[in-house]
């Protein structure tokens, strides 16, 4: 149990550092920065204390906000996906989730991709809506959401494949 907790603490710190020191400076095509740090929320164990999970997500978002001077946009987006996560788990994994037996290293790749994509899209939509904060720029919000989501999804999938334990 203790080793599991320390794994999550290390994962938290490494993801935050990678995000603020490297990924926030990618600026692909001028404005596209992948937000890899939400992998922490995506891969958090299913069997969890929801209160603690939502609070940790808030803390993660707030840390990113602290470093990127963005007010509370990352915290809001993280809390949102942490709260709606069970709905999407049920939608993507169906019966296995009902039996509380989902392990992210063992599930079907298609279901995992769908689960990740939907949560990432929601996160980015909330993030950019709050960051731009203007109805008159809806097209800009959607454009940023779509392109950044694509980039984040690709990166998240790559990272999960590279760091998966069951190498064949």
């Amino acid at each position: 149990m203790n080793s599991l907790v320390s794994i999550f603490i290390v994962r938290f710190i490494v993801l935050v550092l990678v995000q603020i020191l490297i990924l926030n400076h990618v600026n692909f095509l001028g404005y596209i920065n992948p937000y890899l740090y939400i992998l922490f929320i995506l891969l958090y164990p299913i069997k969890n204390n929801r209160i603690l999970f939502i609070f940790l997500s808030f803390l993660l978002g707030l840390t990113i906000d602290l470093f990127s001077d963005s007010g509370g946009v990352h915290a809001a987006a993280c809390v949102m996906i942490a709260y709606v996560r069970p709905v999407f788990l049920k939608f993507s994994f169906g019966m296995i989730y009902e039996h509380q037996a989902v392990k992210f290293s063992q599930v079907d790749f298609g279901a995992k991709l769908m689960y990740m994509s939907m949560l990432i899209a929601i996160h980015h939509l909330v993030l950019f809506s709050l960051e731009i904060f203007s109805f008159s720029k809806t097209i800009l919000i959607l454009q940023k959401t779509i392109f950044t989501s694509l980039f984040t999804i690709i990166l998240c999938v790559l990272v999960t494949i590279i760091f998966s334990k069951n190498s064949k």
Binding site: N27, I54, F58
Partner: protein, 273 residues
Amino acid sequence: MQQILNFIIRNKTFLLFLFLFGVSLLFTIQSHSYHKSRFINSANFLSGGIYKSSNNISQYLNLKSQNEILAQENALLNAIIYSSNDTTSTFVSDSSKYGVPYKFTPAKIIKNSYALTNNILLINKGIKDSLKQDLGVINSKGIIGIVDNISSKYATVISVLNSNVNISAQLKKTNHFGSLTWDGESQDFIQLTDIPKIAPVALGDTIVTSGRSAIFPKGIQIGVINDFELDAAENYYIINLKIFNDMTNIEHVYVIENNGLAEMDNLLNPIDE
């Protein structure tokens, strides 16, 4: 009472979600209004320290281009010195010795940002270097932004590439002035609004700071007019400026302090008795 408690216990996850979401929204809204005291900003020892040590490594990557920019600035300053050094004049004005109106503090940007809609930079000078809120930040090519939050060793700077920024600017050849804003779309262009229709606006004209807000001295370069159009009411121009600074590649900047600011404030806003 029992029912209320039961309700809270039953919906504790949802209530926690609502509470934390509300807190984040509050932070977001505060960050959108200019100069609200904010808890969440990168001018603190933790993020400042991390950005400083990462900048210590990454500064070598663009050493060459930064050196070129500094050399260009030296050339410009040399040109000003030698052209104003009139050896035939024997008149020495003493008043220039003690009445220095502006104080320049060199600083270094340790976190640059330009891809968001509200970009905020971090510089390595703070209260210990006698910086204050609301000082202007420039470099050799033009304006960079305005100092916002400040800690003992670091300060955040609202970049001109920030949709909340509002800086007074004017045409270089006449005194018609307006305010600078950014629409959040391109890092090369910012917008100048409220220039009256009567002003002789032409493509390629230079825009400089107006000195009206006393944050920036008058005449600091901003950019050239790229295109312009009248607003919906056809009274004012909306001008698209191409800025001189490449905001994606800035490192050495100067913080300007106007020594006459308190005096000007007293004159403009006399205390009612």
